[in-house]
């Protein structure tokens, strides 16, 4: 049964409201003027040039990238490890493992931020890629866990048993058979972990130092002191990276099939 025309128009209006704010930010970043106005006063790339010439933005960009990548890798390793325990282990109750693995999803960022801040102050580390990456890895871990656990349910145990019957050790069967089968799911979780780290402001604010700031933290500081087209330019770049990542996840299966068929043709 189809939805009525009135409801459909309403939904389209909401859809417009979903995307318009971001589109306006993108538009204001291409202004040639010095004010954030819409429609922009003339078009230029000057604010992008300014951002790419500013060492503060570039440092922040590099920091965000490093934190995000490291967080994604840690989340992939720890999340997959937990998914194996929850999906197949019996020694530790699977319910307990699942609870521990999804709990970070539920913690308000402010709470996580103050927790990491207190721990890092106590043990005397602050303002580093590793510290923030560990915090972000915890937040990203549930994405990996959930995806890998779902993939693990679809793995045919007979394939592994065949490898075992052919003489492979349990670890060898794991590394050669199971891990490649769940790798795409782990990668999807890893990309989600990267994006959540890439966006994350609250914990990054708690752990920032004048020498170590991520992109959202610098952006936050700049927005607090006034709106400028350069902030719009950074916002556009940040959004572009997130959307490319989303595209990778959503179109990933299609791309993989394409690549595979190309591979077969050769």
């Amino acid at each position: 049964m189809k939805a009525g025309i009135g409801v459909r128009l309403f939904a389209c209006l909401i859809a417009l409201l979903f995307v318009t704010p971001t589109l306006i930010v993108v538009a204001t970043s291409f202004t040639s003027g010095t004010m954030v106005v819409f429609p922009p006063n003339g078009l230029s790339l000057r604010w992008f040039e300014e951002v790419f010439a500013d060492p503060e933005w570039l440092d922040a960009f590099a920091n965000s990238l490093q934190v995000g990548l490291l967080a994604a890798v840690i989340a992939m390793l720890a999340g997959s490890s937990l998914a194996f325990a929850a999906g197949r282990g019996r020694g530790i109750p699977p319910g307990l493992v699942t609870a521990l693995a999804v709990l970070p999803m539920m913690v308000p960022l402010v709470v996580a931020g103050i927790g990491f801040y207190l721990v890092y102050v106590t043990i005397g580390i602050s303002g580093g890629v590793a510290g923030l990456a560990v915090a972000h890895a915890v937040l990203g871990l549930p994405f990996v866990f959930v995806n890998v656990l779902a993939a693990l349910k679809g793995v045919d145990r007979h394939v592994e048993e065949a490898a075992r019957a052919c003489g492979a050790s349990q670890t060898r069967a794991l590394v050669r058979i199971t891990v490649p089968l769940i790798a795409p799911a782990a990668l999807v979780g890893g990309v989600l972990a990267f994006v959540s780290s890439w966006d994350e402001v609250v914990i990054a604010l708690f752990l920032n130092t004048p020498e170590f700031r991520t992109l959202p933290v610098v952006m936050w500081g700049q927005v607090r002191s006034g709106i400028e087209p350069s902030i719009s330019a950074v916002a556009t770049l940040v959004t572009a990276v997130s959307l490319v990542m989303a595209g990778l996840i959503l179109l990933g299966p299609v791309l993989r099939r394409k690549l595979r068929s190309l591979w077969r043709q050769q």
Partner: protein, 299 residues
């Protein structure tokens, strides 16, 4: 047939602890992950709890309720979270309904718009509302110059209104996704059957579709509600200084008033409330449905 049949003979000679781990190969594989979560998540949570009780004393908890700022921020936060949850349900339900009951083109369009909003950074979306709602912003410009409805700018930024708008924009995708998952699972034939037996469209919806979609509505609303409780960035950027929310109150205690003990106590209470709300809701609709687990989506 279990994969744990291949017990290494050496394991039988090891200590009881090692034997426990080895007798269950997959738990051993999970051990590194478990250690990581306990160290990197359990320890910070434990430290907050300890800090709230010992810096300087459990009186931190009574100090919270003695402070006017905190009492006010609790009231503001609960009110804001309820309003935002209500609005998300009101706006999200028709959206999800159309997605579940329309042709491919419209569904894809709505899904793309939803995903674009969902994947855009929270900070960028909040910033976009600051641009839009400024006194010289796009909305005022439209009202004054293009439409000519008002003569002077309406003050919207740094008000509750701006906070609500920003929060709804950020949280609406969560409620739509939960509702869509539920609505899509309802067999359209049930509505057709109701219509076939003489129900008017509105009756068919109200008596068949709506009751069946309730678990999704509850799941989405609970998720939006608990997420709204802990927000910091959006209220801080779009809200006024006179109306602060719990997230801001916690940061103030730690960074401005230098009372980490009181901040930690507030954080413990906030986390406890979130867990209790989720726990109660999970008994009715299941935690998986609330967190969108099983769909393979995240965020």
């Amino acid at each position: 047939m279990s994969a744990t049949t291949g017990l290494p003979p050496a394991a039988r000679r090891r200590s009881p602890l090692a034997r426990l781990a080895w007798s269950d190969y997959w738990s051993a594989v999970g051990l590194p992950g478990l250690i990581f979560v306990i160290l990197a998540f359990g320890v910070p949570v434990l430290v907050i709890v300890v800090k709230s009780l010992t810096d300087p004393s459990p009186a931190n908890y009574s100090a919270i309720f003695d402070s006017g700022i905190y009492r006010q921020s609790v009231g503001n936060t609960v009110q804001m979270a309820l309003v935002v949850t209500g609005l998300c349900l009101l706006l999200g339900y028709p959206y999800a309904y159309v997605m579940a009951r329309s042709g491919r083109i419209l569904r894809t369009t709505l899904m793309v718009a939803l995903m674009l909003a969902f994947w855009t950074s929270l900070l960028v979306r909040t910033y976009s509302w600051q641009i839009l709602l400024n006194d010289t912003g796009v909305v005022n410009q439209a009202l004054m110059e293009w439409l000519g409805v008002v003569d002077e700018p309406i003050h919207m930024i740094r008000t509750k209104f701006a906070v609500y708008v920003g929060m709804v924009h950020i949280l609406l995708p969560y409620s739509v996704l939960a509702l869509y998952a539920q609505l899509r699972a309802i067999d359209p034939d049930l509505e057709r059957a109701a219509r076939g037996m003489g129900a008017r469209p509105w009756q068919a919806f109200w008596r068949v579709t709506w009751p069946l979609s309730l678990p999704g509505a509850v799941a989405g609303s609970v998720l939006v509600f608990v997420l709204a409780l802990g927000f910091y960035i959006t209220p801080q950027m779009l809200g006024g200084a006179q109306n602060i929310y719990i997230g801001q109150a916690i940061v103030l205690q730690v960074e401005e008033f230098l009372k980490p003990g009181v901040g930690a106590a507030m954080a413990v209470l906030l986390f406890a409330v979130v867990l209790v709300v989720l726990g109660i809701a999970a008994r009715f609709v299941g935690l998986g449905r609330i967190l969108g687990i099983g769909e393979g989506r995240g965020k």
